[in-house]
């Protein structure tokens, strides 16, 4: 694959992120204004300096006008993008490439989603005319991801009770982390008994095994790496970006076993190659991953190379991915604590890397982190899009 990457060619020099939650009092416009205003709140950048915008949203707006109108952006290019739950990441990726190729000096990526206004629990997808035969039309996302649990237990001979404990640990850990994050929707640690005993949603997934829905927005400004220090003394350099759309064949291919996301494996390999990473588990300082449902995070630990196949459930239980573990995963609290405003989540993950690499993560601050990973996936096991980014504190030695 000729994925050359743009290692160290661009840098993030400003970010903004709203609190995530039930923003009954704020509209999509308000969330966008809040995120962009915070992003440009430093002295270094003015709106006039942003040459182009990429806006990610799945269901909360159509066209570039979704961003340009509330912010009164004056005749600038605004691209609206959608890629399921990787939508915010996709906006970021495109903005990075626009600057890296020299088309613009400065680009902004913005992600927004307002899900609570629908009145429904779970994501509401636009209905498309269909023959009514796809199980995706009626079965829910928790159901789709719960398929991982029995398949994983069967393949690796994991005692379902142990798997249940590992799933509980994922939710427990992310809520513990989120409790230390003032921007999270849910800011309470949750006892393991409560997680394990929560009302069932799908398969063995209870309420606490599922990320909630919420409203939120986040934004980032991207410039050429050599210009970064004009705007901040602590920029965040982009080391690798990979977005993979799979062939979607898992649900029709008996060769797929529902214990992995092949798209994640492919996008991780691509991003690691771009970033020059040879051993992710030891080289990364932190990882923000798509913990939409607790078994997802367990499988991701293997797909991203943090644990050998069939071992992640043990490492999860051993605390390897806790805030004080060998590789902190979702130090900001993850989707579990933030909820999942689709267009905003990818940028929210980058925001945590931004804070951590700059030493601004407060109570959750890790000890001198240097490399961070963010990961999103959208779709379902066997048919998804996956995004992996690697961001770093320093330019690599040439």
């Amino acid at each position: 694959m000729a994925s050359r990457g743009i290692r160290d060619r661009v840098a993030v020099v400003a970010m903004g992120c709203t609190t995530f939650g039930e923003h009954w009092d704020r509209s999509v416009d308000d969330l966008l204004v809040d995120a962009v205003t915070e992003c440009l709140s430093g002295d270094a950048l003015t709106p006039e300096e942003i040459d182009a915008y990429w806006l990610g949203t799945m269901t909360s707006g159509l066209s570039g006008l979704t961003l340009s109108r509330p912010l009164a952006i004056d005749n600038k290019p605004v691209s609206r993008v959608e890629n399921f739950c990787a939508t915010g990441s996709e906006a970021f990726r495109n903005a990075c490439y626009a600057v890296a190729c020299g088309a613009y000096d400065t680009a902004m990526a913005v992600g927004v989603e307002k899900l609570k206004d629908s009145g429904y629990s779970g994501l509401v997808r636009p209905a498309m005319a269909s023959d009514g035969t796809s199980a995706e039309l009626t079965s829910t996302a928790p159901a789709a991801f719960s398929l991982l649990d029995p398949a994983y237990c069967a393949k690796y001979g994991v005692d379902p009770a142990a798997m249940r404990e590992a799933m509980t640990h994922v939710a427990w850990k992310n809520h513990v982390n989120g409790a230390r994050n003032p921007r999270a929707q849910f800011r309470k640690a949750v006892p393991k008994e409560k997680i394990a005993g929560s009302p069932l949603i799908a398969g063995r997934l209870g309420v606490f095994d599922c990320s909630g829905v919420s409203d939120g927005a986040a934004a980032a400004v991207i410039v050429r790496a050599e210009d970064a220090h004009r705007y901040t003394d602590r920029p965040m350099f982009v080391k690798g970006l990979s977005l993979i759309a799979g062939p979607g064949s898992g649900p029709v291919d008996p060769g797929y076993d529902y214990t992995t996301f092949p798209e994640v494996v492919a996008s991780a390999a691509d991003a690691y190659a771009q970033a020059g990473i040879t051993d992710a588990a030891s080289q990364l300082s932190l990882a923000e991953v798509h913990d939409c449902f607790t078994p997802t995070e367990i499988v991701l630990m293997e797909d991203l190379g943090f644990s050998p196949r069939g071992e992640a459930w043990k490492h999860v239980l051993d605390g390897a991915f806790d805030l004080d573990g060998r590789l902190p995963v979702n130090p900001d609290g993850g989707l579990k604590s933030f909820g999942h405003p689709v267009g905003a989540s990818g940028l929210r993950m980058l925001f945590e890397c931004w804070l951590q690499l700059r030493g601004e993560a407060g109570e959750r601050q890790l000890d001198n982190p240097t490399l961070g990973l963010t990961h999103n996936l959208g779709g379902r096991p066997g048919a998804c899009v996956s995004f992996v980014s690697i961001v770093g504190k320093e330019l690599s030695a040439a």
């Binding site: 009145g119 429904y120 629990s121 779970g122 509401v124 209905a127 005319a129 269909s130 023959d131 009514g132 035969t133 199980a135 995706e136 039309l137 009626t138 079965s139 829910t140 928790p142 159901a143 789709a144 719960s146 398929l147 991982l148 029995p150 398949a151 069967a154 069932l200 949603i201 799908a202 398969g203 062939p247 064949s249 649900p251 029709v252 291919d253 008996p254 797929y256 076993d257 529902y258």
Partner: protein, 454 residues
């Protein structure tokens, strides 16, 4: 009549309404016995398909579909049956929708010129009514062909028609009404006597080896069964337009070569037919009694919900959209007959059919193949308690079919504690849901019992 029965099938849903539960809820009726009940995802069309599909291989000729509970008005229900039995586009299919007598109508039409007579019904009575207790849901199908291939041949038939108020239902009403019982009995008795006398006379016999009586008028049915010596009456409530077919199928299940069968139908007149079995009888069986015995109880509240008498709160989810006409028409082979495609190059099976092979990426070298009769294995599964379903929770399974092909399917007639990786399944044609008056028909998987073989 130039054609005989060359194949027959019958279908009884697995669900049973136990009268003990009904009596406990409503405080009425006797707590003994049960009735056969269609699932929330079953209707006349799906049960007709279930009865007909096993005997519908090859060109089927005209298809006559009889029901008193047509899922659609102003749309030919027989067309969906025709598609789902894999008949493609070739041939005539029409509804005989109305009274229970349309069952006789379908038999007569198919016997006259060959083809497939399909009957199915969902019989609904007001909660606590005799109709509720004495109804039955199910389907039957008879295939007619050359006498030389037949297992039973109609040798004589006679009919009388009388206009009087016995049982009626206004369009749009869920349940029917009936005039007082003694009136119906007095009207039917002489009509049936005349029809039977003519049919027996034409057949040149004085009595038949088997007698089948079918009538929505319960007292008439019981009286006639006794009068004409019907033995070993199928212990099934009245199944509407499917009733005569189910009872004839039950007798054929037990008949031996060279016997005579007298079928009597008392609906808005009287129809009597004499059949003679051939030495082919017994070559296939529909297993009516076995199906009747294999049922299991559902709570009365569930039954009431399924039939629309008990409205329950919907999940906080968007309701599913109705299927759209053009994609449903484009994909009719897939939607109605589970036709996928097999790659000519590598053999990978695609469900639904694809143009580009998911395995070897070859473009446009595919052969259509139906997996409607295939057997598969559960690869993984879930119980979805959040999904919109007419009868939650929805159970979904990833099914890998023997010989290739995978599909994520809803499980029919299953309980959450029964599904497991490795369970074997077959397919069944069902109604997923109804939206904006459009019935969304598709296939579900059904767990096989060990007795199902394989």
């Amino acid at each position: 009549m130039t054609q005989g029965i060359v194949g027959y099938g019958a279908y009884l849903p697995v669900h049973r309404l136990e009268f003990a539960d009904l009596a406990a809820t409503l405080g009425t009726g006797s707590p003994k016995g049960s009735r056969v009940v269609a699932g929330f995802d079953e209707d006349a069309t799906t049960m007709g398909v279930a009865a007909a599909r096993p005997i519908a291989e090859g060109p089927i000729g005209p298809l006559w579909f009889a029901t008193t509970s047509p899922p659609y008005a102003e749309k030919t229900n027989a067309a969906a049956v025709h598609a789902a039995v894999g008949a493609g586009e070739d041939g005539f299919a029409v509804d005989l929708a109305g009274s229970s007598r349309s069952g006789t109508g379908a038999l007569r039409a198919a016997a006259a010129g060959g083809g497939l007579a399909v009957f199915a019904d969902v019989r609904v009575g007001m909660p606590g009514s005799a109709d509720e207790r004495e109804g039955a849901d199910g389907g039957a199908a008879f295939r007619f062909g050359p006498v030389a291939d037949a297992l039973a041949v109609p040798v004589a038939a006679a009919s009388l028609t009388a206009e009087f108020l016995d049982r009626w239902r206004a369009p749009g009403d869920l349940t029917s009404r009936q005039w007082e019982e003694r009136f119906g009995l007095e009207m039917y008795t002489p009509l049936v006597a005349e029809a039977v006398a003519r049919a027996l006379g034409e057949a040149g016999i004085t009595a038949a080896d088997h007698v089948v009586v079918s009538s929505p008028h319960a007292r008439t049915a019981a009286t006639l069964a006794s009068k004409y010596g019907a033995q070993d009456v199928l212990p099934l409530g009245h199944a509407g337009a499917a009733d005569l077919g189910l009872r004839l199928a039950d007798v054929l299940d037990r008949a031996t070569p060279g016997q005579t069968i007298l079928t009597i139908s008392a609906v808005d007149g009287a129809d009597a037919t004499v059949w003679r079995t051939t030495d082919r009888v017994g070559s296939t069986r529909a297993g009516v009694r076995a199906q009747l015995e294999a049922g299991r109880a559902i709570p009365y509240a569930t039954y009431l919900t399924w039939r629309g008498f008990l409205e329950r709160e919907l999940p906080r989810r968007p309701e599913p959209e109705r299927p759209a006409g053009p994609p449903a028409a484009r994909n009719a082979g897939w939607k109605f007959a589970f036709v996928g495609s097999r790659c000519d190059k590598c053999g990978f099976v695609h469900l639904p059919p694809a143009r580009v092979c998911a395995s070897c990426r070859t473009v446009g070298q595919m052969t259509k193949t139906s997996l409607a009769d295939a057997v598969g294995t559960v690869a993984t599964y879930t119980v979805d308690r959040l999904a919109f379903s007419p009868s939650p929770p929805m159970i979904n399974a990833v099914v890998d079919f023997d010989g290739g092909g995978r599909s994520l399917l809803e499980l029919a007639d299953a309980r959450a504690d029964e599904v497991a990786i490795g369970r074997r399944v077959r397919l069944t044609f069902r109604r997923l849901y109804t939206a904006d008056g459009v019935h969304n028909y598709f296939w579900k998987a059904r767990l096989m019992e060990e007795s199902d073989g394989q």
